[in-house]
């Protein structure tokens, strides 16, 4: 049923149902009402006089609200449209459903309306891996409500179902007997309320964790309107770009997530709906992409990640002092330490990227107070690079998991099992020092030095960081350079040998600034060559390398987020036209997805498929794909904060024509950017 799934959400509460609004989850089927990584409803099936319904249409009103138009019966020949059924559902604390039945006949009808309800209280991880539950279930009828609950020791979760109209309750659902007059209508409000309870938590002692989990979202429609109002306005000759821009802003609104400690502030979660939680890497990179549009996301990301920064050595969680978390989860397996996500720290890039974001945020906003507030965290992050990440003992950042059961093998963004390979396709051992990690570490040191002078009054440390950065750059350009191909190897293995495949990671190196200027032209030539550039974007792995597969997750597909940072890197080294070509390819691909870029699409040459082939993934939208068009707008317009001003230096694809981005927020208050497309990016005519 994946095709017809309907998903709505608010924060980390979401509902996945079929096109009728029904939920019939099995142990492994990912439908249901989910909150805090737990399924709170796995059965929710509507019948009328014993019959299931047929959908006529589904209106996705907002990301948090949807409406199903249904008729009784599942007849394949024709639909008897004497009755209409409307289910309007919105997510909040659980969900609210307004069920309305209209009689179109001039005769009265008697209806037996039934809602079956049930819950398995599965942890998201259990839905993925089909594990067996260890606690006990209970069902009670109390005060006209049906309460489903689950308990394992002190761990307790419950779902309470109630109706505004009288009904008969039993342990498996709600029954309504309704007589509906000629052309009459009937409706009821159904509330499904989730609860997270701990031992002795009666809620009488003021705001508790459980209480905060029950917070009702503020007026969501008005909140979305305000979010859109505050973003810069885009005017453009090329209509699809306007659609993509609006889609990105709305999706980014849906992807906002407020951790319990953050009050009303929010940060970008990684993906909807399964990754609606804090991820170090995804939250940081998306905040970077969105800086010129919604800089407040970066501030929350930095504060919340700082608050959860590692402080001890914990092998189970792959935690070290100073390390920025990889992923936070709230479900049963995390609670009982059967999974390490409380939080899990197995990620080697988020820590240097934390410093990069802090510096870039200050450059845009001038918010030096936050830089001062996070001095300790930034220092600890920079110390982590030198004291905990040098696993090969050669001065490079490397990773190897210490939790060998449930930890992550690859702790870089290309985190699938075969993503890091030699040219001949064989895989290196561990620890692995991937190249982009060195770039991020270099950038973190350079930016850390700037902040040490600007905000922390420590010029001595700034000089030392700069010396380290210069030394890292010199060694990196020698040790990672693949002489015969003129590009940087994706990694060094444990023996110090180059893992010599040609990958998109070279673009991230340009973004970080670690590439010697003398080598930049060769790197750019590789990125824009037929082996890497498909016409739509830069592939993760080059055609001709051992593991290349145009639909391999990290070994040939094209990732819009990856390309947005590559374009930024190309601009950084002055390759404006090349940056515009990458931007044009990705934005033209977005048109095929109605403005919502997928996580990845196939690496087939553009001349062969004429359209981008979507890679199937469970989450859409993905935060950093949503952020990609925003960063591409920044790179095309050449937006760069310089002191108190915003520099605009456009290099726009000719196909876009006129582009205006109005009211760009920053330390300059609000400014406008104008551009005219002059860069020839040779978009092939799709008809030929």
């Amino acid at each position: 049923m994946t095709e017809n799934q309907v998903k709505i959400l608010e924060g980390n509460t979401f509902v996945v149902s079929d096109g009728r609004g029904d939920i019939e989850a099995s142990r492994t089927d990912p439908t249901g009402l989910f909150s805090f990584d737990t399924r709170f409803l796995s059965i929710w099936v509507l019948t009328i006089n014993g019959e299931r319904l047929t959908p006529l249409s589904v209106d996705d009103l907002q990301y948090f609200e949807t409406r199903f138009f249904l008729v009784p019966g599942t007849g394949t020949v024709y639909v008897d449209a004497k009755l209409s059924v409307i289910r309007q559902r919105s997510v909040g604390n659980g969900f609210h459903e307004e069920l309305t039945i209209l009689n179109h006949d001039d005769k009265a009808v008697e209806l037996l309306i039934r809602l079956d309800a049930g819950c398995d209280f599965a942890d998201l991880f259990e839905v993925k891996d089909a594990l067996k539950k260890k606690g006990a279930y209970a069902t009670r009828l109390e005060h006209g409500r049906l309460v489903l609950s689950y308990r394992r020791e002190t761990f307790s979760r419950s779902t309470t179902i109630s109706s505004s109209q009288p009904c008969t309750l039993d342990e498996h659902g709600l029954t309504f007997r309704v007589e509906l007059g000629p052309h009459g209508s009937w409706s009821t409000g159904l509330d499904v309320v989730t609860a997270v309870l701990g031992a002795g938590d009666g809620g009488e002692e003021g705001p508790s964790l459980a209480w905060q989990a029950r917070r009702l979202p503020t007026n969501m429609a008005r909140n979305l309107e305000r979010w859109l109002d505050q973003a810069p306005r885009l005017e453009c000759d090329w209509e699809p770009l306007k659609t993509t821009y609006r889609r990105s802003l709305v999706d980014l609104a849906a992807l906002r997530f407020s951790p319990i400690s953050a009050g009303r502030h929010s940060l970008p979660a990684a993906g909807l709906p399964w990754f609606m939680t804090m991820f170090g890497r995804d939250s940081i990179l998306t905040s970077l992409q969105a800086l010129p549009f919604a800089p407040e996301l970066a501030a929350t990301t930095l504060r919340e990640l700082g608050l959860r920064q590692g402080t001890r050595v914990d092998d189970f969680r792959d935690e070290d002092p100073g390390r920025i978390l990889h992923e936070m989860r709230y479900g049963e397996l995390t609670a009982f330490e059967e999974r390490p996500h409380s939080p899990y720290y197995g990620c080697a890039d988020a820590t240097p990227l934390f410093v990069v974001l802090l510096d870039e945020y200050e450059r845009w906003t001038g918010d030096i107070r936050l830089v001062r507030e996070l001095e300790l965290e930034a220092r600890a992050a920079l110390r982590w690079i030198d004291e905990y990440a040098d696993l090969q003992g050669n001065g490079y950042v490397a990773y190897q998991r210490r939790n060998e059961e449930t930890g992550l093998e690859n702790q870089c963004w290309k985190d699938s099992w075969d993503s890091i390979s030699y040219r001949d396709g064989t895989l290196p051992g561990f620890p692995r020092a991937t190249c982009e990690l060195q770039g991020y570490a270099y950038d973190a040191k350079v930016r850390g030095a700037r902040l040490a002078r600007l905000a922390w009054d420590d010029p001595t440390w700034a000089e030392s960081l700069e010396r380290q950065a210069a030394d890292l750059k010199r060694r990196f350009n020698r040790d990672f350079w693949v002489e015969e191909g003129e590009y940087f190897a994706i990694a060094l293995d444990a023996d110090g040998r180059r893992v010599d495949s040609l990958t998109s990671n070279n673009g991230h190196l340009l973004w970080s600034g670690i590439v010697d200027t003398a080598k930049a032209a060769a790197v750019v030539q590789q990125l824009m060559s037929d082996r890497l550039f498909s016409g739509w974007g830069v592939r993760t792995l080059a055609v001709g390398d051992g593991r290349y597969n145009p639909i391999g997750y990290h070994v040939g597909t094209i990732w819009p987020f990856d390309n947005s940072f590559i374009a930024w890197g190309l601009r950084r080294y002055g390759f404006k036209a090349e940056a515009a070509r990458v931007a044009a390819g990705i934005l033209e691909a977005a048109e095929f997805f109605d403005g919502r870029l997928p996580e990845a699409f196939g690496g087939y040459p553009r001349s062969m498929t004429k359209y981008p082939v979507q890679y199937p993934t469970a989450c859409s939208p993905q935060a950093w794909s949503t952020g990609a068009p925003l960063l591409l707008l920044r790179t095309m317009l050449g937006l760069e904060p310089v002191g108190e001003h915003l520099l605009v230096d456009p290099a726009l694809p000719g196909t876009i024509g006129r582009l205006e981005l109005l009211d760009i927020p920053g330390r300059w208050d609000r400014v406008d950017a104008f551009a005219r497309g002059r860069v020839e990016t040779s978009r092939p005519d799709p008809d030929h």
């Binding site: 002190t154 309870l197 031992a199 938590d201 002692e205 705001p207 995390t334 507030e373 300790l376 190897q400």
Partner: protein, 124 residues
Amino acid sequence: MEPAAGFVGFFEELGPREHEPLLGKVTSRVRFDLVEDGRPDRWLVSVDKGSITVLQKGGPADCTVRADLALFERLCRGEENALAAVLRGALVCSGDVELLFAIQRIFPGPPRERRLQHGVRSSR
């Protein structure tokens, strides 16, 4: 051994420190209700920009943390993770939850049973 010895000892050891940098941004009172045989033993930990004082008393606090004494003692030895315990409902936190995130940073890491063997050689 007197009740709560491990817990109080842990905080008393912190007390003489002029400044606990991990709590440098914290100025608040956290009340720990250490439950034994159903009765809470109340301890008020006051933090003033990283300086810590511990008093055996009740009273209002910005954040209240309640759990079995045994669990607190395990936290102080690094054998228990505070955030997992909150998710499990074994540790109940009321008030400003952010304070719990902040204060749990000072608990030690778990005892390390084995050292990682570094370097897995490449297969080629």
